[in-house]
């Protein structure tokens, strides 16, 4: 009994240690004063108002959404196609291809960032949003591939044969039969890709142009320059957005599990 109690206490302690800094941001963002302290001097939404009327923050949010949106589209299409090829194709070296596709996940971001920085400088992509989208796509594609492959595992290949035997050319068979059934996997992969791009920092720091601030980069800059509760407000919003994405992908994963 004592052992269980001790274990519970230790677990609670670890959780508190992990969560406390994040939870502390919430009251700080609602502070009425300008000085960061706990408990705050009073409560207000003034920092949220400041955030939403700041040109810099809005531009950063817009950049983040544009880059994450384009990354989601690109990684979603490429990742889904790659997963289809890996699943249905009779490929030699399937495992090796999969490992290669997943390499960016295990490669330290800083290595990818440095390598892309050199390559982009040579190719003239450095400092462009398009280059940033490509970089984010590289690190997002593995999530899409793995999510779609997982949903394809529950797909009955006889359905594809049935569709073909009923007169559907390959494209129609994919659109009418395969895609609707693996849609939860594709959507989960897309959510992952969006989330990956949305809070990506290191690649952005290396590859974005001087004026191209995304939300993570703007937070970093704000923390270093001014460090007022606006940052806390931005952090809270970003945290909530991530939570929403996580819940969305979890819901999709559960739905996808029902296939087959």
């Amino acid at each position: 009994m004592t052992a269980r109690l001790l274990l519970g206490l230790a677990a609670a302690g670890v959780l508190l240690f992990l969560l406390a800094p994040i939870l502390a941001i919430l009251p700080l963002s609602l502070s009425a004063g300008e000085i960061l302290r706990l408990p705050p001097e009073g409560w207000s939404l003034r920092w949220y108002a400041a955030l939403l009327s700041s040109e810099r923050w809005l531009l950063a949010a817009r950049n983040s959404l544009v880059v994450a949106g384009a990354t989601t589209l690109l990684a979603g299409v490429l990742g889904t196609l790659a997963a289809l090829g890996l699943h249905f194709g009779r490929l030699p070296g399937r495992g090796a291809i999969l490992a290669l596709l997943a390499a960016p996940v295990v490669t330290p971001s800083i290595v990818t960032a440095a390598a892309l920085f050199l390559a982009y400088s040579a190719a003239g992509l450095a400092g462009t949003l398009f280059g940033l989208v490509l970089a984010h796509t590289v690190i997002s594609v593995p999530f899409v591939v793995l999510a779609v492959l997982a949903s394809l595992r529950g797909f009955d290949p006889a359905l594809l044969r049935a569709a073909e035997s009923l007169g559907a050319p390959p494209a129609a068979a994919f659109r009418r039969v395969v895609l609707p059934l693996i849609a939860p996997g594709v959507a989960a992969g897309a959510v992952f890709a969006f989330a990956t791009s949305f809070d990506e920092f290191i690649l952005t720091l290396f590859l974005a142009g001087p004026g191209q601030f995304t939300l993570p980069r703007q937070i970093y800059a704000a923390v270093r320059d001014v460090w007022d509760p606006t940052v806390c407000a931005a952090a809270v919003l970003l945290f909530l957005a991530s939570m929403l994405l996580l819940l969305a992908s979890e819901a999709l994963r559960r739905r996808g599990g029902g296939i087959g």
Partner: protein, 357 residues
Amino acid sequence: MSAPVVHFRGVTKSYDGRSLAVAPLDLAVAEGEFLTLLGPSGSGKTTTLMMLAGFEAPSSGEILLEGRVVNRVPPHRRGLGVVFQNYALFPHMSVAENLSFPLEMRRIPRAERAERIARALATVRMEGFADRRPAQLSGGQQQRVALARALIFSPRLVLMDEPLGALDRQLREELQQEIKALHARLGVTILYVTHDQGEALALSDRIAVFRAGRIEQLGTPRELYDRPASAFVAGFLGENNLIPVEVLGAEGAFRRCRLPDGGTILVPGCRPPGPALLVLRPERILPGAEGPNRLSATVLGATFLGDQTRLSVALGPATLAVKLPHGAAGHGLARGERIALCFPPEAAALLPPEGGG
């Protein structure tokens, strides 16, 4: 008989480039015929069907559909109905949408689609299920919908790959009758794959018995049952006694043979003197001592099966199965008792000895 609907000409299939899953296959299916490919798993029957559907490419040879070589025609342009073992209904579509799919692929207008769907559902007695999802149907109902979907675009040829394999026995027999009735009514050509010999006998106009990638024998159910060409066919279709005998010589149209217990019998056939295999159906052996072929056997066991009693008897070193119809003499025998049995000469046949040519 008109030109064959399907013609396999020297078709082979090899997956590894060395061993043949299908050995050179020559087979013609006539218009309106119900032909069954029967064999144990791995005998090449499903591979043959999949090559015809276009899901597998032959390694060599030609497949002709209505006189046209289709080796390079993709499945969606072959216009065949295919019924799969596990139904393969689209789970995200309703029954009506499943049936509509092949019609949409053929750009048939909406009004005509609705009419044909209603008719197809009536054909398989599934009216009122149009809006159900496949998951809301029983196995038998799902297979009915799959049948309707394979027939709704009026293909001239329908392929069925163990379509009743996943159903329980009673439902299987019920659907067998429906498939048979559909075949008779629609006049469609059906190529059917099964490993269930009872199903093959009940449904087919002709049966091709597959073994190790080859057709062992091709014929009507009655031919295969009564005149098997090999010990494999004799043993695969129904229950059979295969008894090693010694052909002694000719007596008119018959051969006199020595049984394992030393007794002799007369059997029609033309085997040369020497070892041979006697084929004798258990239900053709009768109690009593009539005619030239009399057996004096010892009862090893008896099983009451309702409409018949199945005896296992010893004839010298050999064991025979005997099926006595309900009410016939010879019931109530105990183990070790002697029993007099006989069979008419035409009930038996001679085959080459096992392992011989």
